[in-house]
Each structure stands twice: as C-alpha cells, then as structure tokens.
C-alpha cells in the first residue's frame, strides 16, 4: 500500500547521502562509490574481486572498472590469489590506507549527522528494517546464480 512511498523515500535518502559523501570524498579525488570500496578493503585486509563486489553491492564488471581507476591512482593493488589461480586479491596500498583514513575522519561528522535526528533505538531499527528490505539482495552475476543455489538447497531440505 505504501510501497511506493517507501521506495521514493529510499531513493531520496540514498541520493542525498550519496551527494553529501561525494562532496567530502572528492576533496581527495575519490568518488563516494570508490570510498565504499576503500572502506570495505580497510575492514578486510584482502578480498577477491568477487567478494569485494558482493560486499559493495556492485557488479563485478563495474567493480573492475573502479579498481582500474583506483589502481591507477595507486590506492589499491591487485595480486594473484595464493589459493585460487583464477582470482586476484585486492588490498589497499599504504597511500590508499592513508587516503581512506583521512576521508574517514573527514566524513565522521556526516555519519554523525546522518543519524543525529534519530535516537539510538531508531537508528538501530532503521538498520534492521533496511536489511530486511534488501532481502533478497540483488547483485548482478553473483546473487542471481547464488540464490538459485540457496533456493535449491532450501528446497532440498
């Protein structure tokens, strides 16, 4: 009944946040989307491109284009996976880590402001509702096929 309103509010909130993030991160020549990649790498010392794509809700091909740009800027590096000959692990460089830390600090007020109008209970609930909303998570060329697995497994039970 109010699905449309929720959808529009979700859009407005996301775009607003995205623009405000961009305004901060672009001071270091990094887009908001690239910042998401950097933050995922800062919390996981080394991820394959596919794993990184899933954690950032990105398409693998899109992510690859982003990684090429980040690599060109010397913020990340890609090394062959020691365990999987097909895969490449992605990690922050020293410079990438420095840039991320700087932007993380600069964006602290934004994150604080983001939930400033909400109580702790409200922001916790918002988080929960958003996570419920995005199930099943849709990530091209990853979740689609994986979901059929899950469905198959679930059906097999």
């Amino acid at each position: 009944m109010n699905g449309h309103e929720v959808a529009l509010a979700l859009r407005t909130a996301y775009l607003s946040m995205h623009r405000r993030t961009n305004a901060i991160t672009m001071s270091a020549g990094v887009t908001a989307d690239q910042f998401v990649v950097l933050s995922a790498l800062a919390h996981n010392r080394a991820l394959t491109q596919r794993a990184l794509a899933e954690r950032t809700s990105s398409d693998p091909n899109t992510l690859r284009a982003m990684l090429i740009l980040l690599e060109r800027e010397g913020l990340i590096q890609r090394l062959p996976s020691p365990t999987d000959g097909r895969a490449r692990t992605v990690a922050l460089t020293i410079k990438g880590n420095r840039t991320f830390q700087k932007l993380w600090t600069q964006s602290e007020s934004l994150r604080a402001e983001l939930v400033s109008s909400l109580t702790k209970r409200e922001s916790a609930q918002l988080l929960r509702l958003l996570q419920q909303l995005s199930e099943p998570a849709v990530t091209p060329r990853s979740s689609a096929s994986r979901r059929t697995h899950v469905v198959a497994e679930a059906g097999a039970q």
Copy 2:
C-alpha cells in the same frame, strides 16, 4: 556510532530496489530513474522542470537529459509555461500515460514484496525514519541555494 552501517544498508537497499525496478521497467524501454519521472508526472498533471527535478531528487541538468530521451520516445511533452516565460511545463503524453500505467501494474508485486517482510507499523516507521534521514534534502542547484533562504528566514525570526 552506527552511521556507517546505516549508510551501507541504505546503499544496499537502494541498489537492490533500483536493479529490481530496472528489470521490470526495461521491458518497456524505460529505466528505473525514468519511471520515477513518469510516476511524478502521473501524480501531478503538469510540473515545471525545476519542480520535477525537486520531486524526483534529480539535478536539473540531469533531468533535462532524461526529459530529452523521454520526449524522443514520445512519453512526455514540454510546453511553455502559461505563467512563467522562463519555464516549461512537463506532462505525460497519452502514450506516456499508457506506458506508465502498464509499468505501474507490472511493478505492483515488487512494491508489495518490498514491504512484505515488514508489518504495516514497521513500513510506516521505515518511511518516517527515511524521511528524517534525508533532511536536509540535498538536490544540486535547488535545495542548496534554497536552503540558505530557509536558513536566512529561520535566522531572521
């Protein structure tokens, strides 16, 4: 404290919804973002480009590019505003209205599914929290300057 988690969840939820919407609307050659424009026009028989940009959380220049595409497809038309010589009012064509109605029907299950994991109270609260989150709303070349107005007015009180 959990601002980052909320930000990521917001991103994931939005991108997931956006992809699922696209999967439906592209059957009519319309992108998810264009569908947002069509739906805004369906609920407001005639809007200026600026008003439309604000209601869709779009940048005026971005919207113009979208309107050119929609006009080329014969889904919308732009007419000079009767009251403002600078402005142009945007409205759906018959074809645009038909396309919107068709896609609106086709996306009904998506909207239902979007809030299906939530109770009515939860979806209502999610809506409220999202709206709180996006204040102040950020829309390039509109809210920014207008906000200084609001601030100035508020400060003048």
